[in-house]
């Protein structure tokens, strides 16, 4: 199996590297958006799926990252990369604070609280028109001045690899074990010596910093930042991506995000119907395929392919 994994990985790497050359500008844009959502979906999946903290405030952190970077760049003239770093730090800190305030809340209370947090943030952004441009949004300077989106593509690819790779390392480590223990049974986790407080805050901080990261990319890439980024509809989109991809699979969330984004774009001609479609898809997946569609589908596919892989060499025997 390892030979097959390595081969697939290499293929994927090559494909990712030359992707911009394979498609036109429109689909490149779609892929970039998809990868950006992938970071949001995967980080939400880490918080909700792995650590069991169902936060509906995730998009609030995307907004924090984006607006921090944008405001520092436009109002203070800070170079954008510095603003982006500040955005990530701001989201991480705020995420830790929210995680700390939610410590005594569980399940639906946590969901309601985080949803409220996101809404309050959105309302503040909409109302403080002089600072943020209100509902109309604010323009954000560009990061690159190239004729194509290639630099953006490679940047988001790098960010995606670093963030998802980082999260996968965390999940495979003892921290991942602690997150899952907290999700399974918080009381037992505490009795087992897991510092529940610390790890819930850590989970929030990691997830929100990555959401903020996605936000700091979003702002200069799109060029305009509106409070809608923190809306519940956007949250629903990210949740759908994570669920379709598979709630406990980080690569699944990535695949789900890219797949849903491409689906949404491919069906653009259907107008409003495509949003209905993906809403129905979300409901269908939740109702009948709780472990997602993509991750379990992938494992089944591998199971089918494995017998053939046995012929590739002695080490494929596992």
């Amino acid at each position: 199996m390892r030979r097959l994994d390595l081969a697939l990985g290499a293929l994927l790497a090559v494909f990712a590297a030359i992707f911009p050359l394979l498609v036109n500008a429109y689909w490149l844009h779609v892929m970039i958006i998809g990868m950006m959502f992938a970071i949001m979906a995967a980080s939400w999946s880490l918080l909700a799926g792995y650590a069991g903290q169902f936060s509906f405030g995730h998009m609030g952190f995307v907004a924090v990252g984006g607006y921090t970077a944008a405001l520092l760049a436009t109002d203070l003239g800070l170079p954008l990369p510095l603003g982006m770093l500040a955005g990530v730090i701001a989201s991480a800190l705020l995420g830790g604070v929210i995680g700390w305030t939610c410590l005594r809340m569980s399940g639906p209370y946590l969901a309601i609280f985080t949803m409220a947090f996101s809404e309050v943030l959105r309302i503040i952004i909409v109302t403080e028109v002089e600072v943020t441009g209100g509902a109309g949004g604010m323009t954000v300077p560009q990061l690159f001045h190239a004729p194509t989106d290639f630099p953006y593509y490679y940047l988001i690819l790098a960010l995606l690899i670093v963030s998802v790779g980082g999260m996968m390392l965390v999940v495979a480590s003892r921290w991942g074990l602690f997150f899952r223990a907290i999700r399974e049974n918080e009381q037992a986790a505490a009795a087992a010596g897991v510092k529940v407080t610390r790890f819930r805050i850590i989970a929030f901080a990691i997830a929100s910093s990555l959401a903020g990261l996605a936000g700091t990319f979003y702002a200069p890439y799109i060029g305009i930042l509106t409070p809608d980024v923190a809306s519940q509809d956007q949250m629903g989109l990210v949740v759908a991506m994570a669920i379709v991809g598979g709630m406990e699979s980080l690569p699944g969330a990535v695949a789900g995000a890219i797949a849903v984004e491409f689906l949404v774009e491919a069906l653009r001609s259907y107008g409003q119907w495509r949003l209905v479609l993906f809403g129905a898809l979300l409901l269908f997946t939740m109702r009948f395929a709780r472990n997602g569609l993509l991750a379990p589908g992938w494992f089944r596919l591998r199971g089918l392919v494995a017998p053939r892989a046995a012929g590739l060499g002695p080490e494929a025997a596992d």
Partner: protein
């Protein structure tokens, strides 16, 4: 100035009554099914549209249309319960609380989007219940608002009677306290879940139909009541009908007074919603189960 405050207070009370309807529905659903219905605001929206179409397509007069809309919303809610919520009752599904959260959240997104297609994105306004205004000195309240508040109070009174005096209502009460004991006494829990979700949805739908002539209908009108309803049930206590009603009135009143008293008129209305949310966040911080709430029992 005093007149302005009085008007705002009166409006606040009207809103409070309607919030009470919505939030009580949410609290009943939580008591029986042990889930927080994140799609509650959308059911409210659907009820409002049912009312509109019943008036315009079937020619039913506005006030009776509210009750027809409630009946339709009742059936609609039961349909949702049968279609999406039955996994909550089967022993083989894990993490029921998570499922409840995600499926109702997904439902809310779905309903919002399909409403845009079916009803169109532009606001619709059904005809008034009663044209005209009530004028007492400097206090002016539209008759529509009076009818809405009156209808709301009627429905709430009916609900309280239903819960305390009828067999079905008492059965619901029993199930909310202990599912096992209720089934031992012969109460069919599945029917109770259907009833609870149906009644909860019908209350929200009724509120939607009552409020429609005043504020108009739009597919996204469920978003604000969604979050407001949460504020109310958290303040009043998830699972406590009386606490919810009181909290709703207090919230409606205080939010409108907040607008009236805030010096900056451009920011007032926006921040009114944030104010409620902020209060809720504070409450959750210090009392994670709400002010009057009982410890909520997990579904499994």
């Amino acid at each position: 100035m005093l007149d302005y405050i009085l008007i705002q207070a009166a409006n606040g009370l009207v809103i409070g009554v309607l919030f009470a309807l919505i939030a009580t529905g949410l609290t009943i659903i939580f008591s029986i099914l042990k889930i927080v219905n994140f799609a509650h605001g959308e059911i409210y929206m659907v009820g409002g549209y049912f009312g509109y179409y019943v008036i315009t397509l079937l020619g039913v007069p506005p006030f009776p249309a509210v009750f027809v809309a409630m009946a339709l919303t009742f059936l609609f809610s039961i349909g949702i319960e049968r279609g999406l919520l039955t996994p909550l009752y089967s022993p083989s599904i894990e993490r029921k609380a998570d499922y409840g959260i995600l499926i109702t959240f997904g439902l809310s997104v779905f309903l919002r989007n399909i409403a845009i297609i079916i009803f169109g994105p532009f606001p619709l306004r059904p005809p008034s219940f009663l044209e005209g205004n009530l004028v007492i000195g400097g206090l002016i309240v539209s008759d529509d608002r009076l009818v809405a508040a009156g209808g709301g109070i009627l429905l709430l009174a009916g609900l309280i009677y239903f819960l305390n005096r009828t067999v079905w209502g008492q059965a619901l009460n029993a199930v909310s306290q202990s599912r096992e004991s209720a089934s031992i006494v012969g109460i069919n829990s599945e029917r109770m879940y259907m009833l609870a979700f149906g009644v909860g949805g019908a209350l929200a739908g009724g509120a939607g139909a009552l409020i429609a002539p005043i504020y108009s209908l739009s597919p996204s009108m469920g978003l604000v009541p969604d979050t407001q309803a949460f504020v109310i049930v958290i303040l009043g206590g998830l699972g406590s009908v009386s606490g919810t009603i009181i909290a709703a009135l207090v919230l409606g009143l205080s939010e409108n007074l907040f607008i009236a008293l805030l010096p900056d008129p451009s920011r007032g209305p926006s921040y009114a919603n944030a104010f409620g949310l902020f209060i809720m966040m504070l409450v959750l911080l210090f009392r994670p189960t709400g002010i009057f709430g009982r410890q909520h029992v997990a579904m499994d």
